[in-house]
């Protein structure tokens, strides 16, 4: 598992201005490195997990103050990119191209006035200089890769014409079509049914292990952007999986960061989750109702002031 770091985050802080002129820190010194692995970030709403993901993508809301000792993206091509100081243009080129983010709810994050196929092709148009026929072929391939049986039909549909599960797959296809090295998935399955949830996770799992580059026709791309494409076959990507569902994350990821009040309170191998030591992690695990282990009333999380210090 320990591959060369793809992403290095050291002492990341995100703060928003308050009405009284002060700053409120919502992410307070988060550090981790990510290789080509699945990293889970778990926490309740307001714990700063989504803000962490957004800060890495450069998608924090206007007005936010993002700072870090290190925020470096080391992808293919040797040179690491300092995400904090690189010019916005380079950041834009990365976003959607080499790093991508899947958002929670396909109902709100797909454009309602564009056909699904066109939305996916737009990603390619922005990031890869390929011809329109290649674009279209890739788009259909990307839809097929996420388990859509009739890509040509789905590509013609508008987001409101497909189910939540289908919409979420379309969004994943859109994020993966350019072959990113880093994928941040912010609650990618929370809006979905349990059965569909598993399908979507299965797709992500396959892609992380196999590498999203595998689907591409290398001959078409090599001439345009050899560094960007084609080399990643079999390498897999790095995935940051943000969720509030501790059990789901532990069954899917390799490693889990547990966040509370803007800090990482515990880092643990997913398989070791039931040995978690931090009282917050334990509390979160215990307050879930469990099939076959009834507890009435359910244990409630007792918060401790010291956790947020």
């Amino acid at each position: 598992m320990p591959t060369a770091p793809l992403l290095t985050v050291e002492d990341l802080r995100v703060a928003y201005p308050q009405r009284d002129g002060g700053l409120q820190e919502v992410v307070r010194g988060v550090s981790f490195t990510l290789g080509r692995e699945r990293l889970g970030i778990v926490g309740e709403s307001g714990s700063g997990k989504s803000q962490t993901g957004r800060a890495i993508m450069g998608l924090t809301a206007p007005g936010a103050v993002v700072s870090a000792k290190t925020l470096r993206f080391d992808g293919e091509g040797g040179r690491g990119i300092d995400l904090l100081t690189c010019p916005p243009q380079q950041r834009r080129a990365l976003r959607g191209g080499r790093m991508a983010m899947v958002l929670q709810d396909p109902k709100f994050s797909l454009s309602p006035v564009m056909r699904i196929g066109a939305q996916i092709e737009e990603t390619l148009r922005t990031h890869l200089p390929v011809s329109s026929s290649v674009r279209r072929a890739r788009m259909l391939q990307a839809l097929a890769d996420v388990g859509i049986e009739d890509p040509a039909r789905v590509a013609r549909l508008y987001p409101h014409e497909v189910s939540g599960g289908m919409g979420q797959r379309a969004m994943i296809a859109m994020m993966l079509v350019a072959g990113p090295e880093l994928l941040i998935a912010d609650e990618p399955t929370s809006a979905l049914d349990v059965t569909v949830q598993l399908q979507v996770l299965g797709i992500l799992d396959k892609l992380v292990r196999a590498g999203s580059g595998g689907q591409h026709d290398g001959q078409h791309d090599g001439q345009h952007d050899g560094q960007h494409d084609g080399k990643r076959e079999g390498n897999g990507m790095g995935l940051i999986f943000i969720s509030h569902d501790l059990r789901l994350v532990s069954s899917f990821c390799d490693r889990v960061l547990v966040m509370y009040a803007g800090r990482v309170v515990e880092e643990i191998a997913a398989a070791e989750l039931h040995h978690a030591r931090h009282p917050y992690t334990r509390g979160l695990l215990n307050c879930l109702p469990q099939l076959g282990a009834p507890a009435h009333p359910l244990p409630v999380l007792q918060r401790d002031e010291a956790w947020s210090r």
């Binding site: 309740e44 709403s45 049914d193 569909v196 789901l248 099939l291 009435h296």
Partner: protein, 258 residues
């Protein structure tokens, strides 16, 4: 205590039968769960019960004490009428969407009282807030000043302020964090014990349903696939493949051949 008997319920939207000939019974004071994936018609059942969805066929009747063994004497006969709705209130899934953003908690709670001409609003509102563990301090706040769990408590208070014997719960905790979910589930359980309420609860989370309900029905494509007791589900004694599938899905992701 009041129960429900549903017979051959049908709800049709534009020729599509969302609920197709569904029959079940909820004993007085029982907590009954409905599970299924999206589109199975489980929420539509609840909407039909409280008169929000048009009935295309079948009947719904109250049963139990005061209803004269199901014939409906002393009970409102017409589903969806005002007197009917007073017996049956609903808590919706999304506390961010179900509370009017420009009404204070006070106004949210006063409205059902006004609609059903119940007097003594002042005392009832304060009591309702105390009962759901919010306290009177929350009375003049707006929904945006409350957390998700607090909002859902307001929604529960709004449903219970009419003192209905039957409470319909449409995924009451799926928009909430795990820790808050535990608090809301405990609250619902305590209120049911205290007041002898009957619950009909819809959820896609099998663990939540088995926690709160004694019996449950698995739905698929508008029909009942299986009826089973919560203990049977907990012990994995299920009859149909579909329920089996749901159970496996609920157990979490399993990596295939790494």
């Amino acid at each position: 205590m009041i129960g429900l008997r549903v017979d051959g319920l049908r709800v049709v939207y534009d020729g599509f039968a969302a609920v197709d000939g569904l029959s079940f019974e909820v004993a007085p004071g029982e907590s009954f769960g409905i599970v299924g994936e999206s589109g199975s018609g489980k929420s539509t059942v609840l909407r039909a019960l409280c008169g929000l969805a048009p009935l295309a066929g079948g009947s719904i009747a109250f049963t139990g004490s005061g209803s004269g063994s199901g014939s409906g004497s002393g009970m409102p006969a017409e589903a969806g009428s005002k007197a009917w709705r007073r017996q049956m209130q609903m808590v919706f899934q999304d506390p961010y969407g179900s509370l009017h953003p420009r009404h204070t908690v006070d106004r949210l709670l006063a409205e059902p009282l006004a609609i059903h001409s119940m007097g003594d609003a002042e005392a009832r509102i304060e009591r309702a807030l105390d009962e759901v563990g919010l306290g009177r301090g929350f009375r003049f706040r707006y929904p945006h000043q409350l957390s998700g769990g607090q909002r859902q408590r307001v929604a529960i208070a709004r449903a219970l302020i009419l003192e209905p014997p039957v409470l319909l719960l449409d995924e009451p905790t799926s928009a909430l964090d795990a820790s808050v979910q535990a608090e809301v589930l405990n609250l619902l359980e305590a209120l049911r014990a205290q007041r002898g309420l009957s619950f009909v609860m819809v959820s896609h989370d099998l663990a939540v349903v088995t926690h709160l309900c004694q019996r449950l029905m698995v739905m698929r494509r508008g029909r009942a696939v299986e009826m089973l007791a919560a203990e049977d589900l907990a012990a994995q004694r299920v009859q149909t493949d579909y329920t089996q599938q749901l159970m496996q899905a609920a157990a979490g992701f399993v990596r295939v051949g790494v």
